[in-house]
């Protein structure tokens, strides 16, 4: 028995060891400091730069490579030595480790991706990353000046020694700092980047889109409390984001970082939205309390890059959908963040796609600035839900991008300018592929109703329609069926209209099917049989005992 015990203990210990040894963490901090920039290292860096970086950052390192025009934010101009994401004081050069972090981790929400070979199979080794950083530094003469070296001049910012834990108390304190330091004047009361009434420009004259801090996938230089702390401690060079190193204490900044962290949205993971049944009328207003009980599904959207005009700078990357139904109708509520309420539409400014929509055109993407007007008061905000017209057979569906000539889709398109003018905000339309615009149905076929509201950088739109309309081009909703659903969205002040938009692929909506009575009967039967068996066994055991006693 003792041996058995020892073996058991050994087995448990072995398991514990196996359990705890997780995968080796890929490094965003280098294992060694940057090697000396020898001629050989720079030549190696130059070859890597040519192969991996020059198409965005340009052969001259000025951020003007062939792909640059189509990107917002634009690739960094290395010749200026101005870097946004640093651990050094405002206006200073970055440290080598700062550059190493950016090259290793990339900048989410931009075209700059991770180049860490531990994360991506054909990324760059640590030595390669150092080589390319060495070469990038040669573009800006500032890096040669020892008087500007932030390490030698003591301009590096360290994390605070006392880092208060991330909890309700520090978050509440951070919220007070957010109010006091007037972070909301740009970032909005709820952090959705809606504080300004108009666009601001960066040092290069490009419009600045103020960060919506609630969307972690757009936060460029890390979503951890430490990263957030660094951003408002060092400021973001070349943008209106200042350094708060002099105006806020270390403790305040740390609390604030905790608060900002707490604002980050956690995406739902469901691919199917369960619409909930309700008694009585469905809400028309997006603020109705009835919505609180409904299940929520986050749909990720991305730039429309499937067909020209392609657009890789989408503004709306998430639409959250809820659905309720009763015996007659179904109602959807769509919410998404948009810092500006755009309720006018100037048709004359719409983009003429012909020039970039031909084989052998220069590029089928829309330039970030110049081709379309990304200004206020130009294009309307808009959103659309898309469904197949015919119920899907098996897994077969129409193509998620507007269906095809043989597989029609229906879209419910809400337009802010119509809603604002007091007209029917949502129009029912149909499409057979992306080559033709959505065909809006005749007025007497329009049956979608509902209200919309823009508040604190967020649109909420209700779309309500009878479950079944009896019209052949309309989607019909039946309980227990999985109906494919996807979304299109347009942010007017981001220049979006027509196919310049963001879109999602197929998700599903399903109307909760009632539980059949047989399920309850089976469960009760199982309960009774198991219970009966238990009692019978108990009786038998007791009887045996009595018989044994009687015999004795």
């Amino acid at each position: 028995m003792r041996t058995a015990h020892k073996m058991l203990a050994a087995a448990i210990a072995a398991f514990a060891v196996l359990w705890m040894s997780g995968p080796v963490m890929a490094a965003e901090t280098p294992s060694k400091p940057m090697p000396e920039a020898t001629e050989e290292l720079l030549e190696k860096g130059r070859a890597i730069y040519f192969r991996r970086c020059s198409f965005c950052h340009g052969l001259l390192g000025d951020g003007e490579g062939p792909a640059a025009k189509y990107l917002d934010p634009r690739p960094r101009d290395f010749t200026l030595g101005t870097y946004k994401f640093r651990t050094t004081q405002s206006g200073e050069l970055p440290t080598d480790e700062d550059l190493f972090r950016t090259v290793s981790r990339g900048l989410p929400g931009t075209a700059m991706q991770s180049f860490d070979r531990d994360l991506i199979k054909n990324g760059l080794s640590e030595a390669d990353r150092w080589a390319v950083i060495g070469y990038i530094k040669t573009f800006a003469p500032e890096f040669d000046d020892p008087e500007l070296d932030p390490v030698k001049t003591g301009k590096v910012v360290a994390l605070p020694a006392n880092r208060a834990p991330y909890n309700d108390e520090t978050i509440a304190r951070g919220k007070e700092v957010f109010e006091r330091a007037k972070c909301w004047s740009c970032h909005g009361k709820l952090g959705r980047g809606d504080g300004n009434k108009e666009f601001r420009k960066d040092d290069w004259g490009f419009p600045i889109r103020i960060r919506n801090v609630t969307h972690p996938w757009k936060i460029k230089a890390g979503t951890d409390v430490e990263n957030i702390y660094m951003r408002f401690t060092t400021g973001i060079s070349g943008t209106p984001m200042p350094s708060f190193i002099k105006t806020l204490s270390e403790g305040d900044r740390w609390d604030l970082a905790n608060y900002i962290k707490s604002l980050q949205h956690k995406l739902t993971t469901n691919q199917a939205l369960k619409a909930k049944p309700v008694q009585g009328e469905l809400p028309e207003s997006p603020e109705d309390a009835a919505w609180d009980a409904a299940e929520s599904m986050d749909m990720r959207l991305t730039g429309q890059v499937v067909a020209p005009p392609r657009w890789q700078n989408p503004s709306i990357e998430m639409v959250t959908v809820k659905a309720l139904f009763n015996d007659k109708d179904i109602a959807f509520r769509l919410t998404w963040d948009d810092p500006f309420k755009d309720v006018v539409h100037d048709k004359s400014k719409e983009f003429k796609t012909a020039e970039i929509s031909k084989v052998g055109g220069f590029n089928s993407y829309v330039e970030a600035n110049g081709m379309v007007s990304r200004e206020l008061e130009t294009f309307r905000d808009s959103v659309a839900l898309q469904f197949p017209v015919k119920p899907p057979q098996g897994t077969k569906k129409p193509h998620f991008f507007r269906g095809s000539s043989s597989d029609q889709v229906q879209l419910w398109v809400w337009k802010a300018d119509l809603a604002e003018a007091g007209k029917r905000g949502t129009q029912e339309g149909n499409a057979r592929g992306w080559k033709q615009p959505i065909k809006i149905q005749a007025e007497d076929s329009q049956q979608v109703s509902g209200k919309a509201k823009w508040d604190q950088g967020r649109w909420s739109v209700v779309m309500k329609r009878p479950l079944v309309t009896g019209e052949k081009n309309d989607v019909r909703f039946e309980r227990g069926v999985f109906i494919p659903m996807s979304a299109n969205a347009w942010d007017g002040s981001n220049g979006e209209h027509g196919l310049i938009m963001s879109l999602s692929t197929w998700h599903y909506v399903t109307l909760e099917a009632p539980t059949p009575i047989s399920v309850y009967i089976y469960a009760i039967l199982a309960f009774l049989i198991a219970g009966g068996a238990g009692v019978w066994l108990m009786r038998r055991a007791e009887n045996e005992e009595e018989t044994a006693e009687a015999k004795a």
Binding site: M1, F15, L18, W19, R46, A47, F50, F55, C56, L59, L60, E64, G65, P66, A67, Y70, A111, Q113, I120, K121, N122, G123, Q271, A272, K274, L301, G303, V305, A307, Q312, E317, V359, G360, G361, F362, N363, Y365, T395, K396, P398, H399, D407, F482, S502, T505, W506, H507, Y508, T515, P516, V519, Y522, A523, F527, L528, I529, A530, G531, G534, M538
Partner: protein, 321 residues
């Protein structure tokens, strides 16, 4: 020394639990060490069921091997049923078991909202035109005429580039005023070619390698303008647009992707995109564009050249060659 005595019933229960733990967590934990993958490989449910049934049969045989064994095993059960461990535990367990059973039956029977599963074939061949099987990338093996045309251009210091890269190259020329336009290509084959050009003795192999570098440069530029948004700048299927698609863009670094198909297939896929796929490859979920509507054949072949190079892969060689 007093021996610790575990009853037959309890040891059976412990054995069962240990076997379960071993299969459920032990094997996946060991698998991670063996495969060095960053995630454990779980034991499939059906296999789990077989292991547990076998264990129970073995334990049953062991217990029922002799009458004493069986009565040893049943003693605590009998004692429990008689209330030997207390009336309250007996009532609680006798009530809890049927509730658990009923609940399990309900869980199994209640209709669940599960997303319809769709199986997908990644490289379908049902509608792949045979004529594409042996198509070759014209830029992998340029003809002698192409090579000598390139050498002539190089000698005249006037290289023809695709329009998309011209602006960047011209700005580089203005800024650096180089001896030769191709000096911006900082790789060995090009350096060797330029040295030969200077000396006046150019051999065809070197020229061919240099032409390859020039074509790769153009291909990478076209890739980063057209494909990078989804497939990423490390061709890892992780571009800035990738997160919005349910079917993620292909990761060309994966061994099962562009390496397992002939280059003619890649060309066909690039040309016809998602809409060109047969139903078994769920074309309705694919965001892959029909590039034949936007890019010329030359552009598409150059992109494919760069794509294989970036991924450090080579296409499958067509059968019958």
């Amino acid at each position: 020394m007093k021996k610790l005595k575990i009853g037959s019933f309890l040891s059976m229960v412990i054995t069962l639990v240990l076997v379960y733990a071993l299969v459920k967590w032990g094997i996946p934990a060991v698998s991670r060490e063996v495969t060095t993958l960053p995630f454990p490989l779980p034991v499939p449910g059906a296999l789990m069921f077989i292991y547990m049934v076998l264990t129970i049969i073995a334990l049953f045989l062991f217990v029922t091997f002799s009458d004493e064994g069986l009565s040893d095993f049943l003693r605590p059960v009998r004692k429990f049923l008689r209330g030997g461990y207390g009336k309250i535990p007996r009532t609680v367990i006798l009530a809890a078991v049927p509730v658990l059973v009923g609940w399990q039956v309900y869980e199994i029977k209640v209709p669940k909202a599960e997303v319809p599963a769709s199986l997908r074939i990644q490289h379908p061949s049902s509608n792949f035109p045979r004529s594409f099987e042996t198509k070759e990338n014209p830029f992998t093996n340029p003809t002698d005429a192409d090579v000598s045309a390139f050498v002539e251009q190089a000698k005249a210091n006037e290289i023809e580039f695709v329009p998309q890269v011209r602006e960047d190259v011209e700005r580089w020329m203005e800024e650096t005023d180089p001896g030769h336009v191709l000096e911006f290509v900082p790789v060995e084959p090009m350096k060797k070619f330029l040295a030969q050009l200077k000396s006046g003795k150019v051999d065809a192999e070197t020229a061919k390698a240099a032409l390859m570098e020039k074509n790769l440069f153009e291909g990478r530029a076209l890739y980063s303008m057209n494909c990078r948004a989804c497939h990423g700048d490390s061709v890892a299927g992780d571009g800035p647009m990738a997160d919005g698609f349910k079917l993620r863009p292909l990761n060309f670094n994966d061994n099962g992707t562009i390496e397992t198909i002939v280059v003619g297939y890649t060309f066909w896929r690039v040309a016809n995109g998602g809409p060109g796929l047969p139903p078994e490859a769920t074309p309705w979920d694919s965001a892959m564009p029909e590039w034949k509507l936007s890019l010329t054949e030359e552009e598409r072949w150059k992109i494919i050249l760069a794509e294989y190079d970036l991924a450090q892969k080579t296409p499958r060689i067509p059968e019958g060659h």
